[in-house]
Amino acid sequence: MSADKIVPLKPADPRGRMVARAAREIAPGMVVNLGIGLPTQVVDHLGPDYPVCLHTENGMAGVGPTLPHELADRNLIDAGGAYVSPIPGSSYFDSATSFALVRSGRLDLTMLGAFEVAENGDLANWKIPGRFSPGAGGAIELAQKARRVVVMTTHCDRKGNPKLKRRCTLPLTAAGAVTRIFTDLAVIDVTPAGFTLRECAQGVSVAEVTEATGAPLRLPEGDIPTF
């Protein structure tokens, strides 16, 4: 396997293709924080020779593969509670140092989940008043301070309502933070002019993406590539 290539998995399902496509966003040498949930699955697409340093906010750089319970170290988890492993060159540090890294610009990229993303890059992913308010954890600093913030989410919620909107209605995690969104339907950039379609998922039409997006979707000239 080439050191500079993402493992070319070809998942059959739309979510799997979304994860595989998002993995290609990680350039060699980056320091990356993968949010809990879908973003964590990006790990499966990073081969053993790919030069990347994964950060977890509970205090580790160089996060290695997840371990089954029988091989787990009781003192070594990621921020989602998964038992992880070290790789050569990993380091452990306290919570103050962990967020110093985030706030001071050493985190190249974070991939986060979302309840809502607005066309101005606003992100809401931590609170649904009256229904879900467990606290923001590290999400606010990740979203506000990573050098690049991308979102990975299903295009619509379980009821079929668009998650990409003109404005967020839920409490914000960070304002104007998101630059790119990976969904099961498309890759969409947040630009000064609003949402811009970059790629469509296999078998998904531009019209379907436009229909499922809760804000105007700009189409660049020329063909829209497929992922």
Binding site: T56, E57, N58, G59, M60, H69, A72, D73, R74, N75, L76, I77, D78, A79, G81, Y83, Y92, F93, D94, S95, A96, S98, F99, A100, V102, R103, K127, S133, P134, G135, A136, G137, G138, I140, E141, Q144, K145, P171, L172, T173, A174, A175
Partner: protein, 230 residues
């Protein structure tokens, strides 16, 4: 010159904590949570506590022993999503919960331990976490004042320690333990392994014993410290 011996039994160290105390507790999930000290705090029936802790552990374990039994008045935390008791207590108004951004909680605690009254930050400026925060303008930028947090007592979990209270940690069991071990009037550390004085190399010490008041050797590593099977 020699360094003093601060080894104390958990029962004795915890006995000195008054009702109404503010207690910082290390840990992020299971790693670094001082379950033995927390169990002793519950056993001695301390009440009306203010807790400062990253999370509320899971139902039936750690700080939930205190929350579920109504011993906690107020909780300063970042995320309590794994503890349904804590969420219910908050929603029903039985405990007051103050949420911080996680790294800002770490910095407020660190500032307390570093003798800095406050830090200035823009974290959460455009979110509801900024509600009620004092704003100051510095070099043309609007910044929020995040005041230092100190506690009456800090409960710390260490991997290795010596009798002077020098501490070393394991892997992601560090988390909030090093900053909290500097930020309380009385710092009580439990340690899995108690080494003799000189057993920790000076380069290996992560929390200098100067910050620690009581060092409590652990009798056993109970099941709560183990790998969680979900």
């Amino acid at each position: 010159m020699k360094l003093s011996d601060k080894t104390t039994s958990m029962a004795e160290a915890v006995a000195a904590i008054p009702d109404g105390a503010t207690v910082m507790v290390g840990g992020f999930g299971v790693p670094g949570t001082p379950f033995a000290l927390l169990a002793e705090l519950a056993r001695q029936d301390k009440r009306d506590l203010t807790l400062i802790k990253n999370d509320a552990n899971e139902t039936g374990t750690g700080v939930d022993l205190l929350i579920a039994s109504g011993r906690v008045r107020r909780l300063i935390t970042t995320h309590i999503g794994l503890n349904a008791n804590a969420i219910a207590a908050m929603n029903e108004g039985r405990i007051e919960v103050e949420f911080c951004a996680q790294g800002i909680l770490a910095e407020r605690v660190r500032a307390g331990g570093a003798g800095l009254p406050a830090v200035l930050t823009d974290i959460g400026m455009q979110t509801e976490l900024s509600a009620g925060k004092q704003i100051v303008q510095v070099e043309g930028r609007c910044l929020m004042v995040e005041t230092a947090l100190r506690a009456d007592v800090a409960l710390i979990h260490a991997d290795r320690a010596d009798p002077f209270g020098n501490l070393a940690y394991r892997a992601t069991a560090r988390n909030f333990n090093p900053p909290m071990a500097m930020a309380a009037t009385t710092v009580i550390a439990e340690a899995e392994v108690l080494l003799p004085l000189g057993g920790l190399a000076p380069d290996e010490v992560e929390t200098p014993g100067v910050f620690v008041d009581h060092l409590c050797p652990m009798a056993e590593i109970t099941e709560e410290y183990g790998v969680v099977r979900r």
